[in-house]
Symmetry: C2
Subunit: 263 residues, 2 copies
Amino acid sequence: MSPIELRSGEAVRLAARNGQLRGQTAGLACGFVQANLVILPAAEATDFLRFCMRNPKPCPVLDVSEPGRRTMPRLGGDLDVARDLPAYRIWRDGNLVEEAQDIEALWRSDLVTFALGCSFSFEEALVADGLTVRHVEAGRNVPMYRTSLACEPAGPFAGPLVVSMRPFRPADAVRAIQITSRYPAVHGAPVHLGRPDLIGIADLDAPDYGDAVAVADDEIPVFWACGVTPQAVITAARTPFAITHAPGCMLVTDLVNARLAAG
Amino acid sequence: MSPIELRSGEAVRLAARNGQLRGQTAGLACGFVQANLVILPAAEATDFLRFCMRNPKPCPVLDVSEPGRRTMPRLGGDLDVARDLPAYRIWRDGNLVEEAQDIEALWRSDLVTFALGCSFSFEEALVADGLTVRHVEAGRNVPMYRTSLACEPAGPFAGPLVVSMRPFRPADAVRAIQITSRYPAVHGAPVHLGRPDLIGIADLDAPDYGDAVAVADDEIPVFWACGVTPQAVITAARTPFAITHAPGCMLVTDLVNARLAAG
C-alpha cells in the first residue's frame, strides 16, 4: 500500500493493524492528529497522570483510556491501541527490552493508555505558514536532546526534559513561536532558543535521539518540549513495566490538527 | 506637580501644556497609550502615510489628523498636538535644528500629524506578566540601533529600520514574543533576536539612540521595530521640514493599553 493511500487516521491504523505499514507515520494522513503513546499498569497510571499535569509541555494529554480497554473512542471510532501502531517498544525496569509490531500477547486487564500530543501537528502548521522545517525537508528524524532541565516529579516519575530542535532564521523563529503558541495540546511554544549550552546541550551535532540536522550560519536553534520525555523518565524511574510507541511510529487519530488551535 | 498626580492622559497633556512637565513621559499615566509623533506638510504626508502602511512594525499608525488641525479627537477629547508634549524636535532638510517646548509659532495650515504606536504600551504588558524590562528597572532609556535592514521605501521616504533592544533569558524571550504578538498596534512581535551581527549591529554597548544596558551571560538580546525609525528616515530622506516628539517625550492619549490587545 503506497503512503498516498493512507490519507486518514483510520486508513493508517488499519494498515498498521494488517501488517502493511511497519515504518514511520510521519507525513501520512496529512491533517490528522498523531499521538505519542505510553501504556502503564494502573498502579503507576495515577502517578503518571499527575506527572503529565505537572509537565504539560512535554506531556500534553490528549486522552487517557479506561483500565484494561484497548479502545479510545474519543480519538478514533475503530481504534485498537494494541495493534494500530506500526511499532511498539517494551520497557522493563526502565530498560528497552524489545520492539514489537503488536502488543496483543502482552495485554493485561490493568493497563492504562495515555495518548500525548506530538510535534507532527505543529510542524504541519509551520509548513502551512511557509516555513521550512529542516529535518522534514531533509527526510530525517527531528534531533532530540536530553537537557539539564528537570521535569516536575510526581511519585516515582522524575527525570530530564527532552527537547526537539528545529533551526530557523531569527525572524522565522519569532513566527514559529507565534504559530506553535496556538497549539498548547501539542507541546505549544518553544521552551528555549539560541543558546543550547544554557540547557546542558554540549553538541548540537550529537542528538540523544533522532538525527542531527545542519544549523546554518544565519540561523538559531529553537527547542520545543518533546514527547520522548516519558521514555527518558521511564528509564530514569526504572519503571517496572511500560509500553510506548517506537520513535516516529505514532498513534494516528481521527482528530484534525486544525481543531487543536487555541486561538 | 509630582508624577504620581499625572494618572491620566489628559493630566499629562495639561501638565506639558502648562509647562509643569518638561521631561520624559515614561512611567506617567500608567495604563494609557503613549504615541510617537511625526508632523509633516501635506505635500509629504501622503507619501509618509504610504511609508507607514508599508512598514507597519516600526510605524504602526494610531491616527492621522486632518490637515491644519491641532486636534485629534479619536486620541483625546482636549488634545492640542502643538502644546501637549513636554518637548518637540524640529527638523529641516533632514537635520535636527532645534528642540522646543511647544510648536505654536511653527504651526501651519498644511501640517498633518501622525500618531504612531510606542513600545511603552507593550512594556506595560510585559511587566504586568511578571517579566523584568532591564532599562525600566535601571531607570534608563531603551537602547536603540540603526540596522542594516532597509525599510520599504515610499516616495522620498527610505532608510534603515531602527530597533530597540531588551535582553531576556530565552524562556522569557519566548513569553515576551507571545505577549507582544498581541499588540500589533504598538510594534507587535520582535523582528529579530539572538544575533545582533545578522542585522548590522556590531556593538550592543554602543546604541545609536538611548542608553546601553547590560545583557547577562544567560540572556539573549531581543529586538523590536522602533518608533524612532521615522526620525532616521527623515534624516536619510533630507525631508525639508518635519516636527517630531523628543525622545521619551511622547503624546499621551486617552486610549487604554489593554484595548490595543488583538487577542
